[in-house]
């Protein structure tokens, strides 16, 4: 491929795509019981066999027996549930939360799911087998008591992998497209034949390779079930055109993914089975298709040269895949659903960028993938584009047109930052140049990496609370005992105390993540996934056991802007200008700046006081607790308390804030971000890799903000924490360029698990060709300054308010929520409000 091999054509959407979408969104998503039943049946049959064989046999049993369906109008087939957008359950990871939520899951505010009484019964029956056998239970038993306490107190939440599969991977799609699972099976058989009974790793390696062979056969058989079904449906179909389509589907499925694809259509079907079945093997999300425009291109190009494929049909097939990506779904526990709101599976698909030699490889398909996202206007795939100095201008203009539709896509990524950042983590230059994005914003090299990219949420505000309480939370010693703030004489003492609390929490976070990591390796190794990641088969290890070439763990911190503003305010007001004392700050934070206490805060303070009285030797009974509670409430309402709060808020308001292009404040923020990113990279994971920080919150800044007390930046208790590396909501008052300049001053290279910068625009800022040109220039200029990622919500405030009032009118309204797109009406009210309240970046008056 040479430079700029593309031709831009805008192809119209077909009616089929509209019909597919309408069908998909007819009903509330539903939880089905088939997988839970089948995996349990299989596990009961395989007690005492090696875990890897049990996993493979269970996978095969599921694929042999799970009900299958071809939906009306589909050209690419394969559904994990009978109900559109339905989900299966994965009791091997965790199950108790679902049983506890059986009766509320259909009515909860974030991501509700319908569940029938029969499904409840069947899932419950299956679950009874799993007590004591899940990854989450094993992980818990690997964790230290300090870690469990910290988690109980919401210092950080590794809930994602604690309760679910890991996912967060891009496999070698190109390999399946080229040689099919018969080819991969042959590789496994060859490696197995080369193993000697006497080899030290024989037991493990031979069983793993056998598990790969079983998995490959299972997938081939599954595709054949679809071939049979399509044939049968064709024989019963009265519509001649549809009959032909079904026969073609049947032909495709009997060939791929068993064998290599020989046409673009076959490649599409083959791709789809990989994408779907990875998510049926484990409940992990962020199974990311990656560089679809690259690995599909040879098939497209060959068909075009032969004259056997029209551009219109190629576009329709891509559109069909885009719809299918929204057919897959996952039910999370209520708390996680808030954190990952929007039924999102974060299947990140990226277009454009360079090849391994550093040549731009934007092609026809790069443009057609943008077109597909414009056609379907749905949250999946999480669509991204790569940007570098060699990116064709027209490609970015086309991407900006997609942004202008208001769908919250694409996210823009800067090759000029990400490539060196990955090289710094040990990737080869060639691998780094071929990166794609996983999930929200996490870069990696496809088919070689187990990145554990979304390993936990780490709320940087919580250690600040510990500084003021000497490490106590609700009366329990959770953090380190640092010096009482009243005795601190220098700002450095205060900052050091924060760092000490941070370092300790980071260590506990590592303890939690590594415990979970080991549990996955022992209880849920994944043979199917591992046969598509190098060098698992050669090493005889699954990705969970360290079989991948590159191994990382990437927990994400958030609240950089809050902590930068908080520490800067303390430094300025207490130590530089002597306008306030730390004692006054402590009082103001404990009383939420005199703005009233929530029930939780009253409970927390009461517990805190009761525990210190107990330590002092007093007897504390119910009567005493009631008295303390009364005092707490009364104290918080005293005029002196309110006055102190008001005064501090006013003072804090006058201190410069991050996000306004003030070099001194921004340099300070850069240093504050290092309190998370630097200590973290010193740790190792059980797969032989290192930790690398991300700075992005998904949407957890809202629910986790709700569990966070007031902070010294003037943020009130329970309100959202700042989003990603973006400035605190409403604190950036100098417009989008100033905010972008500030954010660019953070070190994006060290946060190699990704950073996230959100901006929001009115559609009129992008109107006309001129608007698109200026918008692209804004992205280019931010990237010139070495920002890593940028994404945009383009939708008017009025539209969002109306959607809150009339959700039924806006079933398809998509907004970008920190790292992915979601259906606005499915978000919880508080997250909706957060999106509405974020600073709307103006455009010239």
């Amino acid at each position: 491929m040479g430079l700029y091999q593309y031709e831009i054509t805008d192809i119209k959407k077909t009616d089929r795509i509209d019909r597919l979408i309408a069908h998909l969104f007819e009903k509330m998503p539903e939880i089905e019981s088939a997988r839970a039943k089948l995996i349990t049946e299989s596990y009961k049959e395989t007690e005492n066999e090696p875990m890897i064989m049990r996993r493979a046999k269970a996978f095969a049993h599921i694929l042999e027996n799970i009900p299958i369906i071809i939906r009306d109008d589909e050209l690419v087939v394969g559904s994990s549930t009978i109900a559109p957008r339905g989900c299966q359950t994965y009791p091997e990871f965790s199950y108790e939360w679902l049983e506890a939520e059986f009766d509320t899951v259909a009515t909860r505010s974030a991501d509700p799911f319908y569940i029938s009484e029969q499904a409840k019964r069947e899932i419950k029956e299956a679950d009874s087998y799993w007590k004591g056998k899940t990854t989450s239970e094993l992980a818990t038993s690997y964790m230290e008591p300090e870690t469990l306490i910290a988690m109980e107190h919401n210092m950080f939440t590794p809930g994602n992998y604690f309760y679910n599969g890991v996912g967060h991977v891009t496999v070698q799609y190109e390999k399946v497209l080229a040689i099919g699972y018969e080819g991969i099976r042959a590789e496994a058989e060859k490696l197995l034949s080369e193993c000697d009974f006497g080899d030290g790793d024989y037991a493990r390696k031979s069983r793993f390779l056998q598990a790969v062979i079983i998995s490959c056969n299972a997938v081939i058989a599954y595709a054949n079930r679809y071939a049979e079904l399509a044939k049968q449906m064709a024989s019963e179909c009265r519509d001649a055109a549809r009959r032909e389509e079904l026969l073609k589907i049947s032909e495709n499925c009997s060939k791929v993914p068993a064998k290599g694809a020989e046409s673009f259509y076959e490649a599409c079907q083959s791709f789809w089975f990989v994408q779907q079945l990875l998510q049926l093997e484990s409940s992990g999300h962020s199974i990311s298709p990656g560089r679809f425009d690259q690995y599909m291109y040879p098939y497209y190009e060959a068909d075009r040269k032969k004259g056997t494929l029209s551009k219109e049909f190629a576009q329709e097939l891509i559109d069909c895949i885009w719809v299918k990506l929204n057919d897959l779904n996952k039910c999370r526990d209520a708390a996680s659903a808030e954190g990952f709101a929007g039924y999102s599976l974060f299947q990140n698909l990226i277009a454009g960028g360079q090849n391994g030699d550093g040549v731009d490889v934007t092609n026809d398909l790069s443009f057609m993938t943008i077109q597909a996202s414009m056609h379907v206007q749905l949250p999946q795939p999480s669509f991204s584009v790569r940007v570098w100095n060699g990116t064709p201008h027209e490609f970015l203009i086309k991407a900006a047109e997609l942004t202008r539709t208001g769908v919250g896509l694409p996210a823009y990524y800067n090759d000029e930052v990400i490539i060196p950042a990955l090289i710094n983590r040990g990737l080869t230059l060639k691998d780094a140049r071929e990166y794609n994005i996983i999930g929200c914003v996490e870069p990696q090299k496809a088919g070689k990496t187990e990145g554990w990219h979304d390993a936990a949420f780490f709320n940087m505000c919580r250690p600040m609370e510990l500084v003021f309480s000497q490490g106590k939370d609700k009366g329990v010693q959770v953090g380190v005992v640092t010096k009482p703030v009243e005795e601190m004489k220098e700002f450095e003492e205060f900052y050091d105390a924060y760092k000490e609390q941070m370092n300790y929490m980071i260590k506990l976070l590592v303890n939690a993540d590594n415990a979970i990591d080991v549990a996955h390796a022992q209880r849920c190794p994944l043979p199917f996934l591992s046969c598509m990641v190098d060098d698992c088969m050669k090493r005889g290890l699954t990705v969970q056991e360290g079989g991948a070439v590159y191994n990382f763990t990437g927990p994400q911190g958030f609240g950089v802007a809050n902590m930068a503003d908080a520490l800067y305010a303390v430094k300025t007001l207490v130590f530089d200008e002597h306008k306030a004392t730390l004692k006054e700050f402590k009082e103001a934070l404990a009383t939420n700046y005199g703005k009233g206490l929530t029930k939780e805060m009253v409970g927390e303070m009461t517990a805190q006081i009761a525990s210190s009285l107990k330590e002092a030797g007093q007897d504390i009974g119910e009567k005493e607790i009631a008295a303390i509670m009364k005092t707490v409430i009364e104290t918080s309402q005293m005029p002196a308390v309110k006055e102190n709060g008001e005064r501090l808020l006013k003072l804090i308001d006058q201190v410069p804030k991050f996000g306004n292009d003030i070099p001194e404040v921004d340099a300070f923020a850069r240093d504050v971000a290092y309190t998370y990113t630097r200590p973290l990279q010193e740790y190792k994971n059980p797969r032989g890799g290192i930790y690398q920080a991300g700075l992005y919150p998904v949407s957890a800044n809202v629910p986790l903000g709700a569990q966070t007390g007031a902070t010294p930046d003037g943020r009130l208790a329970g309100t959202p924490v700042a989003d990603g590396v973006s400035p605190s909501a409403g604190k950036d008052v100098n417009g989008p360029t100033a905010a972008a300049n500030s954010v660019a001053r953070l070190d994006h290279y060290i946060a190699s698990n990704g950073t996230l910068f959100n901006q929001k625009f009115h559609p009129s800022a992008l109107s006309g060709r001129e608007g698109l040109e200026k918008f692209v220039a804004l992205i280019r200029a931010y990237f010139d300054q070495k920002g890593s990622h940028m994404q945009f919500n383009v939708v008017s405030r009025e539209t969002l308010l109306d959607a809150q009032k009339n959700p039924e009118k806006y079933k398809h309204l998509v907004v970008r929520v920190a790292g992915y797109s979601a259906l606005f009406t499915t978000l919880s009210r508080s997250l909706q409000d957060d999106i509405i309240n974020r600073t709307e970046q103006g455009f010239g008056a």
Partner: protein, 273 residues
Amino acid sequence: MEAYRQTKGRIFDIQKFSIHDGDGIRTIVFLKGCVLRCRWCCNPESQEYAVQTMKVQGEPKIIGQDVTVDEVMRTVEQDRPYYYRSRGGLTLSGGESLCQPEFARDLLRAAKEHGINTAMESMACAKYEVIESILPYLDHYLLDIKHMNPEKHKEFTGRSNELMLENAGKIARSGQTRLSIRIPVIPTFNDSEAEIRAIAGYAKKLDKESRQAGGLGIEKVHLLPYHRLGQDKYDGLDREYLMKDIVPPQAEKMAGLKKAAEQESGLVCQIGG
């Protein structure tokens, strides 16, 4: 530091990421003080040269700040990456920038000499010598023409229009700067087709004269629909807003006027900046 960077002036705002006032992404510096008193003015705090107090959301705010060219340029410089990528730059606005001729000239010079594109929104209401001193540093003149009738102009803005129209001709013929005409479309003042045509006709004449003199002609005619966003500021200054019953022109009306302006002038016309 060059002496001209020490020139002092009075501004009341600097607005970054302006995308409707000249090419690309721009930073607008608003100079304080104006010769006119347009009834519809959306920046009434710009009119007096004196520093004023205006209530903004109930809180008193000091309007007007004395700064040097160098201080302003430090802020303007911050968005250089965006000018570079979008071919944007600095725009002076007001008030009428020509009320502070040395300051305006030296701001433009500081930008121009450091590779930043310059534009100025102005009515050209000053002695031509003042304008002449600025032109070498100005890439794009965004020239306001509000009305062709001197009496009506005086009634609504406080001043007759002869000097401005005469200067418009001289600027056009100077050939030293790109020139665009901006017409604020104000109901009850100039929103009839005949009035817009009159201005468009004058723009055509300017274009012809400019080209005959070897200049670039008129680049564009902008029709800027009246808006009420400045209304609260009148309350904040304790002044009465005389246009409160005036409704902004409808989109169809603007489209009609644009068509009329195009027919009359034969120039590229657009709605908005």
